[in-house]
């Protein structure tokens, strides 16, 4: 694999995807501290939002310690070089949320839909472009559809105005060949000026290998989370990926040692539990289930006395998609009823 000289934008997700394992309770002080460390290490893009994006504050996904606006207004003025992004899932957040995030100073918005539903993002992508934002489209659960269909969906998002389209492995299910095929299909279909990104989860331990496969197939933006702080078994651990990338001669502009310090000194201490491939996270990756379902399944399993693994397998069997957290307690209730029969 010769990736020498490739220029890659690293995008940290620990303060957004990392909100899932923190049950959206990261404090403003912690946000400022971690974001400051990432900025100092040279990470160019940092995402700050509720785990489920702007407007995610809810019974269904969890109420956060602070509003998106409070987080963004606290973090953005502290940044010396890094730019801050926000995530938006149409159906949960709206263009009003997007406008407010823009007023708070985000430079990048990432509009995320399920991999077959790109056409619900038109309003939001167009609005982001009108606001002059760096506009990124996010095709989630990308393993659930074949590369050709994924490329068709990406083309729609490009037609609405997306500067960059992501292959998003929300379940941490993809293996490198699957990443190569999907990123390759997008690269062959999209305008050469449209960038491609890859967002991985580490449920099968493939975050780094998958990200390298993505770069080889043409991706220029790579997501990760410092210390892996993200849903499921976490995202691609950013400090590890950066070290690998530097050894391969990929230009990230991020300091290996400073980023390792952020992981060790700032992020690991704030974890509520180790971010690792435990049994349930493994099932997420193996069965192709949305990573942020993990803690909900654990809680519902404990509440109703059913194995959380069984809940996750059922979520996979039902082909649930991102955002269907409401089905977790419903399934737990059904499994508990069956157990009584």
């Amino acid at each position: 694999m010769n990736l020498r000289g490739r220029k890659i934008v690293l995008h940290d997700n620990s303060l957004r995807d990392g909100m899932h394992p923190k049950r959206h309770q990261i404090s403003v002080e912690q946000m400022i501290s971690v974001a400051g460390g990432l900025d100092e290490a040279g990470v160019p893009l940092i995402e700050v939002t509720h785990g489920d994006g702007l407007g995610g504050a809810s019974v269904n996904y969890g109420f956060p310690a602070y509003s998106d606006e409070e987080y963004l207004r606290a973090v953005i003025p502290q940044m010396k070089r890094a730019r801050v992004s926000a995530l938006l899932l149409p159906g949960i957040g709206t263009v009003e949320h997007l406008r407010r995030a823009h007023e708070c100073g985000v430079t990048t918005v990432r509009v995320a839909t399920h991999c077959t539903e790109a056409d619900i993002s038109e309003q939001h992508i167009r609005c982001a472009r009108e606001l002059g934002l760096d506009t990124v489209a996010f095709l989630m659960m990308a393993h659930m559809v074949d590369p050709a269909e994924l490329a068709r969906q990406a083309k729609l998002m490009e037609s609405y105005g997306a500067h960059c389209v992501y292959v998003t492995d929300s379940a941490g299910y993809l293996l490198p060949d699957g990443v190569t095929a999907r990123v390759g299909a997008l690269r062959a279909t999209l305008d050469p000026a449209t960038e491609i990104g890859f967002h991985g989860h580490h449920n099968l331990g493939m975050g780094i290998a998958n990200s390298l496969a993505a770069i080889e197939a043409g991706a220029v933006r790579i997501d990760g989370s410092v210390a892996g702080l993200g849903a499921g078994a976490g995202n691609t651990p950013l400090e590890v990926f950066n070290a690998v990338a530097v050894r391969l001669g990929i230009e990230t502009g991020v300091d290996v040692f400073k980023l390792a310090d952020v992981a060790e000194d700032l992020v690991v201490p704030l974890m509520d539990q180790p971010i690792r491939i435990d049994r349930d996270s493994l099932i997420l990756g193996y069965a192709g289930v949305y990573s942020s379902f993990l803690l909900f399944a654990k809680r519902a399993g404990a509440k109703y006395g059913v194995p959380s693994a069984n809940i996750l397998v059922e979520l996979g069997r039902m082909k649930t998609v991102g955002g269907q957290e409401d089905m977790i307690e419903d399934i737990a209730l059904n499994l508990a009823k069956l157990a009584k029969l």
């Binding site: 159906g91 949960i92 263009v95 309003q123 955002g323 307690e329």
Partner: protein, 307 residues
């Protein structure tokens, strides 16, 4: 088929999923007679189906219908286009005295969720009534059933529909859906604050519409009264949507009341999984029938004297 001679003629504007499903239901109505289907796409399947049922059709939008209103004595129109198009349609039809039942989330007129507030629309002579959204029709009755027992500080709904049942109008109007539904949860459901989430799921075979309702009560939930109120309300909705079903709950967790629903349709147009179409079209039809009965009673003035 029709026993009632005093039917009111109506037009269906929009030949997509919702308009087509509504047509089949209206063809069975004792009070309404669908005579026009309005579309914009000559290759629309809905228009072909309308012609097969003997309806007149146009591909020129509402403008194609306007010249025929008087001769045909069309007095009610159902708008199943999109929130972006509805305001123009509504203005053109209102100018001609046609009462509009709005199935888009444009929400110009007052909200109607029949099981909750149909009685409040009686005798009002409203010229435009809004049906909120499919998710609103499925969930607002549940919010109202809790709110009539005790104060609801916050209600949140998650509506999951199959991708196949979400047509282009729905897809372009995702924000309007969440906004209008949240508003309906407050104004009709009676929650102090409302939030709505919509999810499209492409699974094959398609999933039956699922709706989850969370209410946060102000005081401790009065469990028995809430259970009884929910049972009554669900039976009321089942009168016009027989496939409306409680799947789980109510679960009481502190002040949180959770209810899981499934909505199966009659399969008039799309198969039974598309309960989101049925709950919308059946509610709109009930509303339209109320207006038709009031017209038959002379409440809206004499027939054919509009222009």
């Amino acid at each position: 088929m029709r026993n009632n001679l005093a039917t009111v003629k109506c037009a269906i504007v929009g030949s997509g999923n919702i308009g087509t499903d509504l047509m089949y239901k209206a063809l069975r109505s004792e009070w309404l007679e669908p005579v026009w289907m309005v579309g914009i796409d000559p290759s629309s399947e809905g228009l072909a189906r309308a012609r097969a049922q003997g309806l007149a059709t146009t591909v020129d939008g509402v403008d194609g219908l306007l010249p025929h209103l008087d001769r045909e004595d069309v007095r009610i129109a159902f708008d199943a286009t999109s929130a972006y198009v509805h305001p123009q349609n509504a203005a053109k039809l209102a100018a001609r005295g046609v009462v509009v039942v709005d199935l888009t989330p444009a929400a110009i007129g007052p909200y109607c969720v029949p099981s909750v507030n149909l009685a409040k629309h009686v005798g009002k002579r409203e010229m435009n009534v809004n049906m909120v959204s499919c998710g609103g029709q499925a969930t607002i009755p549940i919010v109202a059933a809790v709110a009539r027992v005790q104060a609801v500080a916050y209600a949140e709904i998650v509506a999951t529909v199959s991708s196949r049942s979400a047509g282009s109008g729905t897809r372009k109007n995702i924000d309007e859906f969440t906004r209008t539904t949240a508003n309906g949860i407050e104004k009709v459901g009676g929650a102090r604050r409302g939030k709505a989430i919509i999810i499209l799921n492409p699974a094959e075979p398609p999933l039956i519409m699922r709706d989850t309702v969370y209410c946060l009560t102000e005081g401790e939930p009065r469990e028995d009264a809430i259970r009884a109120s929910l049972a009554t309300m669900i039976a009321e909705v089942q009168r016009y949507v027989p496939g409306y079903q409680l799947k789980n709950g109510p679960v009481f967790d502190g002040k949180r009341v959770s209810v899981w629903l499934e909505v199966a349709g009659l399969g008039d147009y799309l198969p039974r999984y598309a309960g989101n179409l049925d709950i919308m079209t059946a509610a709109a039809l009930r509303t339209g029938e109320l207006i038709a009965r009031e017209m038959a009673d002379g409440l809206y003035g004499q027939t054919g004297k509009w222009s």
